[in-house]
Amino acid sequence: MSSVTTLKYTLQLADNVLIMGQRLAALCGKGPILEQDIALTNISLDQIGQARSLYQYAATIVNNMSVADKAQLFNAPLLQEKINSKLSITEDDLAYLRDAWDYRNCLLVEQENGDWAYTVARSFFFDRFQYLLYTAMLKSTDSTLAAIAEKSLKEVQYHIKWASEWVIRLGDGTDISKEKMQQALQARWEYTGEMFTMNELEKEAYNIGIGVDVSQLQQTYQQQIETIVQEAGLQMPTAAWMQTGGKNGVHTEHLGYILAEMQYLQRAYPNMEW
């Protein structure tokens, strides 16, 4: 059943970038200044674009499965009903018709935008992870995942630059900006451990050669984060306890609200186009 593993693994990758992109998209028109508003929107669109590639691939996998194999893929009744009635599904079905417990994004990306320092801290932690993940995924035996990783890497390089420079700028700025940046790093750090904790799905994906062993990325990640944090004149955040759950479908209260807003139209007016 390696196709189910590939499907679920692809969805987990897609959910991360979709929810991250959706969070940043909420800042469209609300950025602190026009130029940074556009920068955020660009990053958001990059991420939603990556999510689209991944969901398209996932939809293809579902559509190519035998009827028996796809009879019980999702908990979300709307999506499963559509699959069971032998209709082809699309990227949109996967984004709009799955419920929160089907989403496998890490907890970090669903955290609130907060103030500018919080927005920067979340991106800083996530983008750096994405860079290491996609770099390792270039070696995936699944050629589609490897290709998506290659295409996404260029985008992520810029995202890293953007977030890192803001950490340095705020850390190296005024007393207030330094304090706020430090606070945000500290508050978001407890959500970073989950990204490197292998769940069952990731272990299986790694064993069949398509997935990345994220636990191996952690040391490099910490070093790279620390380099920037030091350059910013800030203290490396600490956490006695790392939050986990999102990758197994157990989310913070925030995801439900994100999905409610994102999915409302397709739920209220199925197949609506504009």
């Binding site: 200044i33 026009l34 130029e35 556009i38 420079e165």
Partner: protein
């Protein structure tokens, strides 16, 4: 004064659209420093593949001619057609001039 300090300085953006062409003025934007100005320019002016190279100059460093002096500055050139190199007889062998 305090308000002026809150605004990020203004920068002029010049974009080279492809190799071999000149950088052309694309517009202006606000940024805290040169690096941010280049990145903002990337995000604001090259989203649709408009460029391969960006220059930014803080607007205060640009010195412009005075529009009020435009008559004295530019009009006298109008009737000096002899400044155009169109009165020379070119040899037939010379092409593409």
């Amino acid at each position: 004064m305090s308000n002026e300090h809150k605004e990020w300085p203004l920068w002029e953006v010049f974009i080279r659209s492809k190799a071999g062409l000149d950088h052309k003025h694309a517009g202006s934007l606000h940024a805290a420093d040169a690096q941010m100005a280049i990145e903002n320019a990337r995000d604001v002016y090259t989203r649709r593949m408009e460029g391969i190279s960006i220059w930014v100059v803080e607007s205060k460093h640009i010195h412009a001619s005075n529009p009020e002096e435009a008559d004295a500055f530019f009009d006298p050139a109008q009737d000096k057609i002899y400044r155009h190199p169109t009165f020379y007889n070119l040899p037939d062998e010379l092409k593409h001039m």
